[in-house]
Each structure stands twice: as structure tokens, then as C-alpha cells.
Symmetry: none
Amino acid sequence: MTEASQTISDQIQKKLDDFTRAERQLALSILENYPASGLGPLTALANDANVSVPTVARMVQKLGFKSYPDFQSELREELRAKVKNPIAKHDMWAETAPSEHLLNRFTDAVIDNIRLTLTQINPAEFDAACGLVADQSRHLFIVGGRITHTLAEYFYLHMQVIRPNLTHVQSTSSTWPHYLLNAKKGDIVVIFDVRRYENNILKLAEIARSRGAKLILFTDQWRSPVHHFADISLSCRIMVPSAWDSAATTMLLIETMISSVQNLNWDDTKDRIETLEVMFDQTRLFRKFT
Amino acid sequence: MTEASQTISDQIQKKLDDFTRAERQLALSILENYPASGLGPLTALANDANVSVPTVARMVQKLGFKSYPDFQSELREELRAKVKNPIAKHDMWAETAPSEHLLNRFTDAVIDNIRLTLTQINPAEFDAACGLVADQSRHLFIVGGRITHTLAEYFYLHMQVIRPNLTHVQSTSSTWPHYLLNAKKGDIVVIFDVRRYENNILKLAEIARSRGAKLILFTDQWRSPVHHFADISLSCRIMVPSAWDSAATTMLLIETMISSVQNLNWDDTKDRIETLEVMFDQTRLFRKFT
DNA sequence: AGGTGACTGTGAAATTATTTTCATAATTTA
DNA sequence: TAAATTATGAAAATAATTTCACAGTCACCT
């Protein structure tokens, strides 16, 4: 084997820059179900990747194979070798790094957090929270702490597109009580508070509650004291091999909620998004392609 | 699926007694390099097993497949499922919700994103990026786009504690060119740019590069055009069942990098954190417990 | 704005490979 | 020895691959 020491997967990644748009699309599709998708018929692969048959043929040649069957036969050889090799144990995420590598340890921890968080979550409560957030007749307040205000803003930026009638409370400023002056019965306050829990957030929650608002809380497994006032609490596991906590699981829940709320409001949202697209096009803020 | 829960390998072993001599010989040969040998052409398999072509055809039919290609396609399907980590094919994450519940579908997608991202990442490059970010003699610029600036800020907030000499570039403002006035050779620019890619970020990257800064890019699987200027690109899978993209995997990488950089700088960081703790205590911003 | 060139998809034809199915002879097994 | 199983070789049928020409699209450049 002259250069067979690197897998076809590696070769594809290395050549990613030399590929054209359609070829890259194909390449990513191959890597998505590697190596299974490359072992089927060429036509099936082309369909999977949403590219044309000639594109597949062209790319295979660019990779240096005489023909598609040639490419497949190397793939099979690779699979043979991998299955044979006992080192190919699959409990690693970044396979080219040792299992003690931080990438693997950290990912292990995050997956574990996700698993634990999801088994402990109450789907009915989650759905209820989504329902409340989707209700456009209620004003939506979003607030976070020193670190979590970034999550709050992430949530806010999406909600802003999906629905009107919302406010991002800048809790770091001393002006947050002013926001609450407008809060009325039935309004929704989404609060992010993980350790270390912040006093002003607690105060805010208390006041909001006393004004009759519904509170939805994103917190950690030990639960912020805010949860005493919250109508719905969603606790996420946050422990990782780091001096810091992980927001990855919280992010997952936030994004799921965004998607859910979007679905609930789809009819209204559609128009808002289209309008937004037009505006973005006009401002030429975004690139069209490549 | 009625009996698809058992693998083809299982089915073959179970029927081993019903097979004739030549068929058994073939069966064992298939199991020898399972599943690679079954994915090649029928003729090759017959040769490998030293049986005739019709024998292969007969056995495949005995196993209950309509044709040899049918058999292969099931083998591929099996391989697909197997490649996903055992943990990734977890049936349900939120066990009290049906598997079609968004919580389960979304989590599935995110786990898959993590798996794919990690297998395609280059640990050496990642480590190199961490090394650069940890180097306190280089000024660290952090910049994100319309949505991703929240990730940028999350990264910034942690880096702020870990090391001095850094700037969060507010790319939304029109003042970002001013930040770059201070950029000099050897400085680090960490850029977040996922679709839709933003023109001003690209411009910024180009200028930063021309001033001799090192660029580290967090992007998606399709890669922002910034990657042409970047010294190190980290691409994350971001597809989820939503109208929006997922930043959960990106978050995972960011946090891993934070942890890694913190480890590299531990001696210096320790003091900074302690100082910070004292300051927080004094401002009574955080609650001590509960 | 308009032209240029690279890239892609389409459809189809030619080619090649693969599978299926026979009949028959050889071999094994009971 | 008879019956069942196999291999052989080959033909027919099917499927897959390769290769075109051409037209449409998109990015890029002037």
C-alpha cells in the first residue's frame, strides 16, 4: 500500500478544497453515512446527495480512482481492515485522537449530560412551556445572568423572528426594574439562571411573579432558587471536565423550544421570515453562496 | 420491522444447520469478513468462498432475500445502523415521550451532529488552535455574526477570566475596522461564521489576515468563505429538524477549547479566578448557596 | 449591465458488469 | 447404488457504469 495508510475518508476531506460545490455536497453526503453509502450503486449515492450521476463519476475520478467499482472495492478493503483491527473500538468520538484526549472526554461528558437531562425532563411540561412562549397575546420577557445572558440573547434573536411582542431584559444593567413596569398578568418571563445563581435575577423573578407573570426557568440540575417562583423549570446537567460548566445541553433545549414554538406559530412566522429574507437581500448583508 | 431486529449475521448462523455443505462453506466465508465480503459482487464472493456462483444465488434465496442486490442493500442498512455509536441509536431520549416527539428527534439530530463533527475534526489542528489562543503574548480578537455573536460573547466571557489582552469585536457595529487598527502580526482572531455567511465578516477576515494575524474559524460543514483566509478551520454539523440551524455542536467545541486553554494557562489563570471570586463576593452579585 | 467561463444537471446511448437461470456432468452422501 | 447436491459453462436478462452533447445557472470580471 503506497498511500493507503490514509483512509478514503481522509482523502476526501483533504481534497475538499479542490472540489466544486456539487462535489463538496456529494463528499459531505458520503461522509455522513460512511462508508455504507459509498458501497451502494452509484445512482443511489447520487440521489442521496442530490447531485447528478455524472457528478459522482467525475468526483471519483478526481479522487484518483479508475472507476466507481474501483472506489467501492477500496472502500470494502478499508472496511475489512477496520473490522479486523481490534484497535478500532468505537467508543471514541474523535477517532484519530487517543481516548484520553480532552475532545473525547469532554464529548463523553456532554453526551452524558444530554442523556440524563432528557430522561429527567417532563415532555408535557416542556410542551406546556412551548405553548406559553408561542402565545403571541402574552408579552415575552427574556432574561439571563452574567454568562447566561448570551443564551438568553440567542433565544431572543430567534424569537424575534418568530413572534412580535417580546423584550430582552438586559439584566446586567441596573434598569431592569423598568422593563417590568409593563409586565402584566399572563405575560411570560423566560429566565436563564445557572450557578452561580444571581441575586438580581431572583429579585426579578419574585417581582415578575407578584405581577402575575408566568415564569419559565432554564437552570441546572441543582436548580436556581428562582425555581420556587417558576411555573415550569427545565433543569439541565452541566458538569464537564473543566473548571467551567457546560451550556451545550441548555443550548439543545433552547433550540428544541425554538423549533417547537416555530411550528406552533408557523402560519404567522412564514410571512415574517419571508419579509426578513427580503430585507437581508436588500441590505446585502449576507452572501448568496460559496 | 418484524425480524429485522436480528442482523443478517444472526440469521445466517441460525440457518447454518439447514444449509448444505457448499452453502455452509459459503456462509462461514461471509462471516469471516463480515460484512465487507458480502458487499462486493456476487462473483467475487463465490470465488472467495470457493463455491460456484449458483450456490451463492441459491443461498441468498434460502435466506429469504429476493435477490443478491436485495441482500446487499440490507447489509448496507445494517452497516449504517452499526456505525452510529451504540449511544447514538438510543431509541428514545425522553422516555416518557413518544419517539416522534420533537425532543427525541431533535436530540437524535444533535447527537448525530456531534458524532460527525468529532470524527471529522483534526485533533492536532484543534490542539494547535488551543495553543494559539492560550498564548497571552498575542492579542486575542473574537468576532461573530448576527446570530453567532452570542457564541462569540460566550467564548469571550470565559477567555476574559482566563487571560488578559483580548477584545470582543462588535461586528454588528460599523466601528469594527477600528478594532483592527491595533491588530499586529501574530495576533489571533477567532471568527464565528456559519450560514448565512456575512460579508462584513469576510472583509474583516481578509484585512486581519493581511495584517499578519492568525485566523481561527468556527464554521459549519459547508464552511464559510472565510476559511480561505483561516489558518485553522473547525467545521461543525448544524442540521436539525428545524427551520434554524443548531449551535449545540459549536458550543461543545467552544467549551472544549475553553477548558483546554484554561489547562494550558492554569498557573496564570488560578490567580485571576481567585481575584475574580473576591470581587464577586464584594459586589454580592451572586448568592453563596441554595 | 453584459459577457465569459466554469460548473451542473439532463437525457440518452453505448458499454460494461452483474445477476439469474439453464442443462448437464461430476461429486458427494446416505 | 440411488438420491441429493454441486460445479461448470454458457446464454439471456437485467442492472449499472461510463461517456456524450447540450443547455441552463451561477459567479466573476470588465
